[in-house]
């Protein structure tokens, strides 16, 4: 048996089955070896080319297929899992670790999915794994948040499934050669502007993917659910769901304009809510939305360079977001506190954590010599290039200019937010009196390794650029990425937005607050509306109906429907009278249909 016969995801699923059998050091060794094995297998498949087919309902499934963007995502998913395992190893969380393998296996499966059905199955496997990770968080609201998370993703999954069914059946009727193919919806992107029944399938797929990407109005699940994971759980969570969504959008919907608008909204939303956030991990979740916004912009622009940028940014982002969450997770683990207002002055005793957080923070803001700089600037450059190309063609492109300025504004904002604010409040500001040591060696090792990757990719961007979807464009760009102009743009913006933070420090006081989001509609408004408006109204109707029934002759008819409120009534058709009445009514309906319609 050759290595290429083995789907990379299967390695991780096997791991999920194997792990419970081991204990102690062996467990650690196996857990660390498996992601690396999966990485090796992924690359074997990528270089050899995957070709396994499974017949399904007269069509073929392609569970191992290499898309242009597969190498980037498969690589980072494996690295991420290994890093997360290293970080979590001091804490014996058996269920969580197994779930993490299932979760990462799902993500890896999606990255190699050559058809829509395989993609969907792995997609749902991820939902399952991630929900269990949230539940194993053992935080205050882990259970409730996990439920909301699961509900949201299950609905997103249903939208995705509906879309897939519709798209595939449409393709079958058109006689497409490979109706299940998971690739770019190019034909549909052209007729994008109108929303109709005939392209409803594609819209539903897009919605399903966007739910996982945290696009509006579904952004709130990220800051709601992720902070409820354990210290290591949140690290795993931050990496896979949104990035897999980015991957699928990149494969299927590159160049769809609406993604730009959604991305801009997310970029700004993440900063604005992040400024107000008090829970340090929730703040990072808001910045996660912000960063995914940047990726969506890259996908929406749809040029080769921007797609490269989005993929590279996903890679870089997984690393530094994991790093940031590891650092904040270490703080949480060592102090037991997560509110920024309760922390402060930790620079004395947690220097390693501090420096790792700073490196992560600089990367997320795109500071020169960090991975964020070399990846994000590709998207920025792509917007400019596309704008001038469209200007030359005389096509409307004002939206690209606006996008560019807002993009830069959000970049400045995220530095203020996820780098300066976070570092300042955790490690400096007033002395909280806490004197926790740096975390255990494995957590430190994981952080240092990821910090190293951040710097490595910042200094030698070529390493990442050569596995991007369009290597030619990336190689061209590598020549200009460190131009003085680029560097000075970033330094000027970031430096002075940092200044703005310190000037505004007096009004940035922390309190134990949350800020309402769109999820208020379904968490508060709809339940209240049902309880206080709709239900009383229905009860009024109920009374009216009862009055009518009471005026009828015959006790059976009159009392057929006894006191139960309408909520019970519909489910309780015990009495014979109502069904019999319905039979007669149906007969009447049929006679009317049969006698009237043919004469029309």
């Amino acid at each position: 048996m050759q290595m290429t016969d083995l789907p990379p995801a299967a390695v991780l699923f096997a791991g999920a089955l194997l792990l419970p059998l081991f204990k102690g050091k062996w467990r650690f060794a196996v857990a660390l070896a498996l992601p690396l094995l999966a990485l090796a297998d992924s690359w074997a498949v990528i270089t050899e080319g995957g070709a396994s087919f499974i017949p399904f309902m007269g069509m073929t499934l392609q569970p191992v297929h290499v898309h242009a963007a597969t190498p980037v995502f498969a690589t980072i998913f494996c690295i991420m899992l290994a890093g997360g395992v290293l970080f979590s190893m001091n804490d014996d969380r058996r269920v969580e670790l197994t779930a993490a393998f299932v979760y990462a296996g799902g993500a890896l499966g999606v990255a190699f999915a050559g058809d829509l059905v395989t993609m969907f199955v792995f997609w749902e496997v991820m939902t399952l794994g991630s929900t269990i990770i949230i539940w194993s968080g053992r935080q205050n609201d882990s259970y409730g948040a996990g439920l909301r998370y699961f509900g949201m993703h299950a609905l997103g999954g249903v939208a995705l499934l509906m879309g897939i069914i519709i798209v595939v059946t449409q393709r079958l009727h058109e006689g497409a050669a490979d109706p299940l193919a998971f690739g770019h919806f190019s034909a549909m992107v052209d007729g994008w502007s109108h929303l109709g029944w005939d392209n409803a399938g594609m819209w539903l797929i897009l919605v399903g993917m966007l739910v996982n990407a945290g696009a509006p109005p579904f952004s709130s699940w990220i800051p709601d659910a992720y902070p409820e994971g354990s210290t290591s759980g949140t690290v795993f969570l931050s990496a896979f769901t949104t990035k897999t969504a980015v991957f699928t959008l990149l494969v299927a919907f590159a160049g769809v304009e609406v993604l730009i608008y959604l991305g801009v909204y997310m970029a700004i939303y993440g900063v604005v809510y992040g400024v107000n956030a008090n829970n340090m991990r929730r703040l990072l979740c808001y910045s996660l939305v912000n960063q995914v916004g940047f990726m969506l912009i890259g996908i929406g622009v749809g040029t080769k360079l921007s797609i490269d940028g989005a993929a590279a940014h996903a890679f870089a982002h997984i690393v530094y977001k994991a790093l940031l969450l590891m650092a904040t997770g270490s703080v949480l683990a060592m102090t037991g506190k997560f509110r920024l207002g309760e922390l402060g002055g930790l620079y004395r005793t947690m220097p390693v954590t501090m420096w790792c957080l700073i490196i992560g923070g600089l990367s997320i803001s795109g500071f020169p010599l960090t991975s964020g700089f070399t990846s994000k600037s590709m998207v920025v450059q792509a917007i400019v290039d596309e704008s001038s190309r469209m200007a030359a063609l005389g096509e409307p492109h004002t939206y690209l200019i606006v996008t560019w300025f807002l993009f830069q504004a959000a970049t400045a904002g995220v530095f203020l937010d996820a780098c300066v604010k976070l570092t300042w409040f955790i490690f400096f500001q007033k002395d909280s009196g806490l004197r926790p040591p740096d975390p255990p060696w494995n957590m430190k090792a994981a952080m240092i390794a990821f910090a190293f990757i951040c710097i490595l990719l910042g200094v030698f961007p070529g390493i990442l650029y050569q596995i991007l979807p369009y290597q030619g464009e990336a190689a061209e760009y590598a020549k200009v990425v460190y131009s003085l102009e680029h560097v000075m743009v970033m330094l000027g913006m970031l430096g002075f937005s940092g200044l703005a933070f310190f000037l505004l420090l007096p009004i940035l006081k922390r309190g134990s607050y949350i800020h309402l989001d769109i999820d208020w509609i379904w968490r508060r408004f709809i339940p209240r509306f049902w309880k206080e408006v709709l239900l009383p109204l229905l009860q009024q109707l109920d009374n009216a109906q009862k009055a009518i029934l009471e005026s009828l002759p015959g006790r059976g008819m009159r009392d057929a429907n006894l006191p139960p409120p309408i909520a019970r009534r519909m489910g309780n058709m015990w009495a014979v009278s109502v069904p019999v009445f319905l039979i007669v009514l149906m007969l009447l309906v049929y006679l009317v249909v049969y006698f009237v319609i043919p004469t029309l």
Partner: protein
Amino acid sequence: MQIVLDYYNYWACILIMMIGFYGIMAKSNLVKKVISLAIFQTGILVFYISTGKIDGGTGPVRVADGAAEAVYSNPLPHALMLTAIVVGVSTMAVALAIIVNIRQAYGTIDEVDIETMEHERGE
């Protein structure tokens, strides 16, 4: 008006059936409900048999050779209705047996009273 008079037998059957229906819907006593069901079924039996009737037709008995044209009613509906009557009787028997059990279990055969009891029990 003509249509009513021409098909008076069918209208009568429909009337019987409707009376049965009314009873099933309006009576809360289960035995009365079952009796109404029987009335409804009887309406159908009569209806079926009357379809086989031919004006001036005799019983479907073989007449002597050479006798006048034998016009006789269609015997098949009668035969079928014998089966239907058996079915109806069985239904009655099952229904009444169940009602006896209901009386033992609830102490009443009034649908409304039973429903009230179950409602109070929280079913």
